[in-house]
């Protein structure tokens, strides 16, 4: 059964500074993992993607990784 991690942990606001959390939803190339694989809801995935983009802009996460 797929479960939305953010709903399960009562996370209402995905913070871009929470790099360790965001990294769990990125693959080896630093690309986001599809929600089909992670089970994240569409709403949470949108928040997550916003947070990832903010973290990338601030140099906390890479845009691409080898």
């Amino acid at each position: 059964m797929k479960q939305d991690y953010f709903a399960a942990n009562n996370i209402k606001y995905v913070d871009y500074k929470d790099v360790e959390l965001l990294k769990k939803f990125l693959n080896q190339n630093a690309r986001m993992i599809a929600r089909k694989r992670t089970g994240v809801s569409a709403k949470s995935q949108r928040s997550l993607s916003e947070a990832v983009k903010r973290a990338r802009f601030m140099g906390l996460l890479p845009f691409v990784a080898k």
């Binding site: 479960q3 399960a8 942990n9 606001y13 500074k17 959390l21 992670t38 802009f57 601030m58 140099g59």
Partner: protein, 172 residues
């Protein structure tokens, strides 16, 4: 039809914002406090109410950034990353932005709308998936307090545990 006058002055809308910033790595650790103070003063001039902050920490940037200072392009691989959260009138935001843009010690900054509560989650993971519970109802979910506030006494999960649990979540 008469225009409706808004007489409620107290209902001035304020919002919670957060400014994340990257200070140039050339600042010494001792001078950092002064620069943070100056930055807060410059933001504070716009009539904001500070809620919380994190003192800048030296970080390795994920990629090389450049910023033109005095007509010279400077490249940075390291920076001091910090943030301040405050309550402000949305109309003041443009002037806050201009103040930050004029600061030569800032490589980059980011203004975001946020919430008053602490948004940094402690990495608590639900275990029901790992136990093979497929009824869809989380039974032993280790959840945070309302608004992601981490509890002080919650023991931090180890890296290995977190990896294991996220793997369980990722597996279809």
């Amino acid at each position: 039809m008469e225009p409706v006058e808004n007489t409620n002055e107290d209902a001035k809308t304020t919002r919670i914002y957060e400014v994340g910033f990257l200070f140039v790595p050339t600042i010494t650790e001792e001078a950092l406090a002064t620069d943070v103070g100056a930055l807060k003063d410059s933001i504070g001039k716009h009539g904001v109410a500070f809620i919380s902050e994190e003192f800048p920490k030296a970080i390795e940037l994920a990629y090389t950034m450049d910023r033109t200072i005095d007509h010279k392009r400077q490249k940075y691989d390291r920076a001091y990353f910090g943030w301040v959260k405050f309550e402000a009138d949305p109309e003041m935001l443009e002037s806050i932005k201009k103040t930050l843009e004029a600061n030569d010690k800032i490589i980059r900054f980011l203004i975001v709308k946020t919430v008053r509560e602490n948004t940094l989650s402690r990495h608590t993971f639900s275990r029901h998936n790992a136990n093979g519970n497929t009824d869809g109802k989380p039974k032993t979910v280790i959840s945070n307090d309302e608004g992601n506030t981490p509890s002080a006494e919650a023991a931090p999960a180890t890296e290995a545990e977190i990896d294991k649990q996220i793997e369980a979540l990722v597996v279809e």
